[in-house]
């Protein structure tokens, strides 16, 4: 069953197109990465899936319903969340928001258990009583991932989850995601090409149009077109290394 079906979607912002005729399918157990340069419309596409932006043309369904309904089964982790570092809230209470049901409902013991489970998954359980603003960037990312996981979602949507964390934290973050993919589909938006060859199974290359959508292996050839500059990939077997070819560099 398709978790997300985006069909021929066009989005405009002040008459300039942000997305042009984009179609995308996310199935159960997919680990898909949408990659593309800044301004390619990656975040816009996620917001279309979440029903936060209405497309001018085309259709979107999430779990066979409208995004506003289906999104309740999505675990969403927004791009670097802007919040006041003095905001009076503990890590536990941030993650508890992921268990929100509807107006006038209250959080049950089951919700609290799910929160602790999610915090354990991201290895943040011991910091549960800390104020969120006192955590490091990498720790905050993990807490926001826990908030998305606490929903026990069918699909995890992550927008540039590692943009603000250091390379070591990035590696362990991706390894954490890999361990989650048995339980849910993952859709990851990033401009970090190094993730593609190592962790994800399939790739969608976006630069307002969708240039490629398929297994990760085939994607690397398409990246040049998307980024409009040559991208050289040093063998799939040697992970983590994606180099741009510079003029006068000669052969590497």
């Amino acid at each position: 069953m398709a978790l997300v079906e985006v069909r021929n979607v066009w989005v405009y912002c002040d008459h300039s197109p942000q997305l042009e005729d984009v179609s995308l399918l996310v199935n159960d157990h997919d680990f898909l990465s949408i990659i593309g340069p800044n301004g390619a419309g990656k975040t816009t596409l996620l917001k279309v899936i979440l029903g936060l932006i209405q497309p001018a043309r085309g259709s979107v369904t999430v779990l066979d319903s409208a995004p506003e309904i289906g999104r309740k089964q999505i675990g969403y982790m927004p791009q670097d969340i802007q919040f006041d570092s003095a905001f009076p809230i503990s890590v536990f209470d941030v993650v508890l928001m992921g268990r929100y049901k509807h107006l006038l409902s209250s959080y049950s013991e089951k919700d609290k258990k799910a929160v602790m489970e999610a915090l354990k998954t991201v290895e943040m359980a011991k910091l549960k009583d800390r104020r969120i603003g006192t955590l490091s960037g990498g720790e905050q990312q993990r807490v926001f991932l826990a908030r998305a996981l606490a929903r026990q979602p069918r699909l995890l949507l992550l927008d540039e989850p590692t943009a603000s964390i250091d390379p070591d934290a990035r590696k362990s973050f991706y390894e954490l995601l890999t361990s989650l993919k048995e339980r849910m589909a993952i859709l990851l938006v990033t401009h970090d090409i190094s993730v593609v060859s190592v962790y994800v199974d399939s790739v969608a290359c976006l630069n307002r149009r969708l240039y490629y959508h398929g297994p990760a292996e085939g994607a690397l050839k398409q990246l040049e077109q998307v980024y409009q500059c040559p991208v050289e990939v040093l063998a799939h077997g040697i992970p983590h290394r994606v180099l741009r070819r510079h003029n006068n560099d000669g052969d590497l």
């Binding site: 309740k72 969403y76 104020r131």
Partner: protein
């Protein structure tokens, strides 16, 4: 204590307690949601209602209720829908409210003896019927916040995520602004439209220094509000100073002291005493 035998003093103490509830509960959200200047706009716009009260001959405080709720909704809707931007919407309603208040008072032709008290507050002259109304507004405010507590906290922290998990963000944002409107009305008698914003920010700003739980922040802010308003009341009575302004200055002093205290604690490594 003989001064407690005066009715005006008992009323003033009751008023201090009632405004502290409003400013602690709503002020906490004003501070964490960062809507201080929206609240300032609503407060000044409420002056239009006071003027209308003079004109049609009803209690200015009662007339201020629909006026401040309407301006709260107006700011909320204009800033989102009219392509205007929030600060512009605030500026428009802030001044339109004040201007219509001035015109209404002029048109009412009568003498407006306590006009100054609506602008700057006068805790020593709060009449009984206004106390009853402040009590009713407090009940509405507390019930509204209790019912939608987790949604309001969620929206204040991360509006987008809250929307995705199903919080009706637009409606609750407007509800919060309406609660601000109601608390403005509650506070007018004590500090006046011009100084309302002090009571909606300072107790909560002090409270936030000492906790990282929104509920505790509310309770602390209510307590700080009581201390500030009661201290201001006695000092203004004893020294014959304008009460609204005295209360604001006392709260300002308390804010300064707690800022220093917190930094000293932090500098000495006692940060666990003040939640980091």
């Amino acid at each position: 204590m003989e001064i407690f035998e005066y009715e005006f003093m008992r009323n003033a103490l009751a008023a201090a307690a009632l405004v502290s509830i409003a400013c602690g509960v709503v002020g906490t959200f004003v501070v964490i949601r960062k809507i201080v200047f929206i609240s300032g706009g609503i407060a000044h716009a409420a002056f239009g209602g006071i003027g209308l009260g003079y004109l049609v001959g009803i209690s200015p405080i009662v007339a201020a209720i629909p006026f401040s709720v309407m301006s709260a909704l107006g700011i909320g809707i204009l800033s989102k829908k009219a392509d205007m931007g929030e600060d512009a919407a605030i500026g428009v309603l802030w001044t339109l409210g004040m201007a219509s208040g001035v015109v209404f008072i002029h048109m009412s032709q009568g003498y407006a003896p306590d006009l100054f008290s609506y602008l700057f507050g006068s805790i020593l002259t709060v009449p009984r019927q206004d106390l009853a109304m402040m009590g009713i507004l407090d009940v509405l405010i507390v019930v509204g916040v209790l019912l939608f507590y987790k949604e309001l906290v969620g929206l204040s922290f991360d509006e987008e995520f809250s929307t995705v998990v199903g919080v009706p963000a637009q409606q609750l944002n407007l509800l919060l602004l309406c609660l601000v409107g109601l608390s403005v009305v509650t506070l007018i008698r004590v500090v006046g439209v011009i100084l309302v914003i002090a009571l909606l920010t300072m107790p909560a700003a002090i409270g936030r220094y000492f906790t990282y739980d929104v509920k505790r922040m509310m309770i602390l802010s209510v307590g700080i509000g009581v201390i500030g308003t009661v201290a201001g009341l006695f000092i203004s009575y004893a020294a014959d100073l304008p009460s609204g302004a005295t209360i604001v200055l006392i709260l300002g002093g308390m804010l300064l002291c707690s800022t220093i205290l917190k930094n000293v604690w932090r500098g000495r490594g006692y940060s666990h005493l003040c939640s980091l």
